[in-house]
């Protein structure tokens, strides 16, 4: 947690970079989230002052978009596509399996902090459904077995990095 707190004080550099960019709030929020992993409440006043906005405006933007997180998330984010093309290929079964296998619901993180599970509405990979996204990689034709393989892959990576 210490490193997170230190990083929150670092955002002045990012604010300086984006404050004069027209419509710069979204790019700034993306940049802070990339840096820290989420958008801590404590950053809101700093962002508001830096961009000459009210805190309510900044909070309003953060809360509007699904991508922006106000709490720490897992080291890996797994998104399951819930949109129609994937439903037509069994994604409802896949999401039920995923929740059960990981023991968490959408919006939650596994107890070891490894995986956060989220819904997503279309990854644009609709001809080879069902699709999931793990961090920045997209996987096609994911059935329950393949899902389990991919998740154990994340556990192995986790072990290797320790």
């Amino acid at each position: 947690m210490n490193s997170t707190l230190e990083k929150t004080t670092d955002i002045s550099g990012l604010i300086a970079k984006y404050k004069d960019l027209p419509g710069g709030l979204l790019p700034l929020l993306h940049a802070i989230q990339t840096e820290i992993g989420y958008l801590p409440d404590s950053a809101v006043p700093t962002i508001a002052t830096g961009l000459n906005l009210s805190r309510a405006e900044v909070h309003g933007v953060i809360s509007f978009y699904h991508d922006f997180k106000t709490h720490p998330v897992g080291r890996n984010t797994v998104q399951i596509c819930r949109a129609e093309a994937c439903q037509a290929m069994g994604s409802r079964r896949l999401e039920a399996h995923a929740k059960q296998a990981l023991g968490i619901n959408y919006g939650e993180t596994t107890a070891d902090g490894n995986i956060s599970l989220e819904p997503v509405y279309c990854l644009g990979n609709c001809a080879c459904s069902p699709s999931i996204r793990i961090n920045d990689d997209i996987y096609a034709r994911v059935d329950t077995e393949r899902f389990d393989d991919l998740m154990s892959g994340l556990l192995i990576e986790e072990g290797a990095s320790k």
Binding site: L26, Y65, E84, G124, A127
Partner: protein
């Protein structure tokens, strides 16, 4: 021999990188091309041989040694051999204008783009007045490909005629409809075409700044677009004094943050301004007061991409394709439960049945098709009696369906249409911007009423109530989100009423 293996999202999602690694292990550096859009064949390995470009697919890394052996002897003896790629019926039968270059080479290679007629439209445009360019677009009959199908030339004329120190070109690349991926394929396989179209749009209306508003669900497109822009700037196709013309156009990619509503043009503009993606009331039209209150062209990726070929080949060539008031080609995206899903570019007028049966070859599951949803989550579910409808904007509108962005999602006979109707309302709950009551509250009530109908709670009266609610949403919402969510709901009730009857607990529903 040159080897090609795509770097497109779908190909990557099916293991294209491991195929590339296997080639590298064999001492071959493959070209990472875009996808041809024949997704059921991905990863599609192409090999340029003395006798033309042949394909193998779908390949895995394990297939590489065998394919290399076969290439030494008789390529056609390999099980995955597909013959000359451009003669594969699925591709050969298409009429590719916008996607003519897709998959042919490295999408980031400027020389390759120019060798395949790239930037020819731009060089013509640089010698024309704004009005001349707008006239070409009008004459082509091009209508917006995002879904609303508004004539592009008329929108451009409005921006051209509106006085303003600063004008903007905004590309709507927030392709959120399920079953659609044409924008993504274009951006990943041929990004310079979009850049060229946007520069031409800037020249036409007098805009010097453009933005591509890209959804965050497309990380591959994001990376490729940024590199393409960087290279286009370096080669002076973007920036100041483009190709010595004295004309300026700057372009930037802005990432969305996971909000379907930002595909609606006014919500998109709010988001670009750094705000919540709340829909604006129209008027004023974005063409008059758009981004930062300035005159703005907002067009879909495919609309802007089509501009370069219209300028290059002339308005008449484009206008020759299609029927009625739907001119040019439509990028059909075949998805869902389908054997051969992919991108199919055809002149308007092909029937839905031809697409799903001839191209798609039926369902992936092998079961009968039950329903087809065209045009994304706000499109109607079409029963078999409607599959002979020709794909043109007016013919679809006449049966309360819509072509939208051209996505087709196929469902087999295991689909539960009450569950799909409920999902349509649920999606609207999740994605409504919240500005207008019919959409924000109506969708929540819609989910509840459908639950009651399926649970046989006062069914007949609740069905009447649901229709009434749909009327309120359709006629009282500010934009298509609330206004069209009733389309899938009503069509599901009308054409698949049996699914709304009582079911045993745990059977099918939810």
């Amino acid at each position: 021999m040159t080897f090609y293996i795509p770097q497109d999202t779908t190909a990557l999602a099916l293991g294209a990188d491991s195929v590339a690694s296997a080639l590298q292990a064999a001492g071959i550096e493959p070209v990472r091309n875009g996808s041809r859009g024949m997704f059921w064949l991905e990863p599609l390995l192409e090999v340029a041989t003395d006798t033309g470009r042949i394909g193998f697919g779908p390949v895995t890394a394990n297939d590489i040694p065998g394919i290399l052996d076969a290439l030494e002897a008789d390529a056609s003896s390999h099980d995955l051999y597909l013959g000359p790629v451009e003669e594969i019926e699925y591709l050969a039968k298409q009429q590719r204008l916008t996607f003519a270059r897709a998959g042919q080479g490295d999408p980031l290679c400027l020389d390759n783009y120019q060798a395949l007629n790239g930037f020819k439209g731009l060089s013509k445009a640089l010698g024309m007045s704004g009005q001349q360019i707008v006239d070409q677009v009008k004459d082509s009959g091009l209508r917006g490909r995002g879904g609303a199908a508004f004539p592009a030339g008329i929108k451009w004329q409005t921006v051209l005629d509106t006085l303003g120190e600063q004008k903007y070109i905004v590309c709507n690349a927030d392709e959120g409809d399920s079953g659609t991926f044409a924008d993504r394929v274009l951006m990943e396989a041929d990004p310079y075409q979009l850049i060229e179209g946007m520069v031409i749009a800037g020249l036409a209306v007098g805009a010097t700044q453009g933005y591509i508003y890209l959804r965050s669900e497309y990380p591959v497109a994001h990376r490729l677009l940024n590199i393409a822009i960087e290279r286009a700037v370096a080669a002076n196709f973007l920036g100041d004094n483009i190709q010595g013309s004295g004309k300026t156009f700057h372009l930037e990619v802005r990432l969305g943050a996971g909000a379907y509503i930002c595909g609606e043009e006014t919500a998109l503009l709010e988001s670009l301004e750094g705000k919540r993606g709340m829909v604006r009331a129209k008027p004023p039209l974005p063409a008059i007061e758009g981004l930062f209150g300035k005159p703005t062209v907002v067009n879909n990726v495919l609309t802007l991409a089509a501009i370069s070929s219209i300028l290059e080949q002339g308005a008449a060539a484009y206008q020759n394709f299609g029927l009625g008031r739907s001119r040019g080609t439509l990028a059909i995206q075949l998805a869902g439960n389908i054997k051969r899903g992919g991108l199919i570019e055809l002149a308007f007028g092909v029937t839905l049945r031809e697409v799903v049966e001839d191209y798609g070859q039926g369902t992936h599951s092998g079961r009968p098709i039950r329903a087809i949803q065209v045009g994304g989550p706000l499109g109607a579910f079409m029963p078999e009696s409607q599959w002979d409808t020709p794909m043109d904007y007016e013919a679809f509108a006449a049966i309360k369906a819509m072509i939208g962005h051209g996505g087709i999602v196929v469902f087999d006979d295991t689909a539960d249409m009450a569950a799909q109707a409920r999902f349509a309302m649920e999606f609207c709950v999740v994605e409504s911007c919240g500005k207008c009551t019919p959409c924000r509250i109506g969708s929540v009530r819609g989910v509840e009423v459908i639950d009651r109908i399926v649970a046989n709670e006062n069914r007949d009266n609740n069905l009447i109530l649901l229709h009434d609610l749909c009327d309120t949403m359709e006629f009282g919402s500010l934009c298509a989100m609330g206004g069209m969510t009733p389309y899938p709901v009503r069509s599901a009730i009308k054409y698949f009423p049996e699914d709304f009857l009582l079911k045993d607990a745990g059977q099918g529903y939810k």
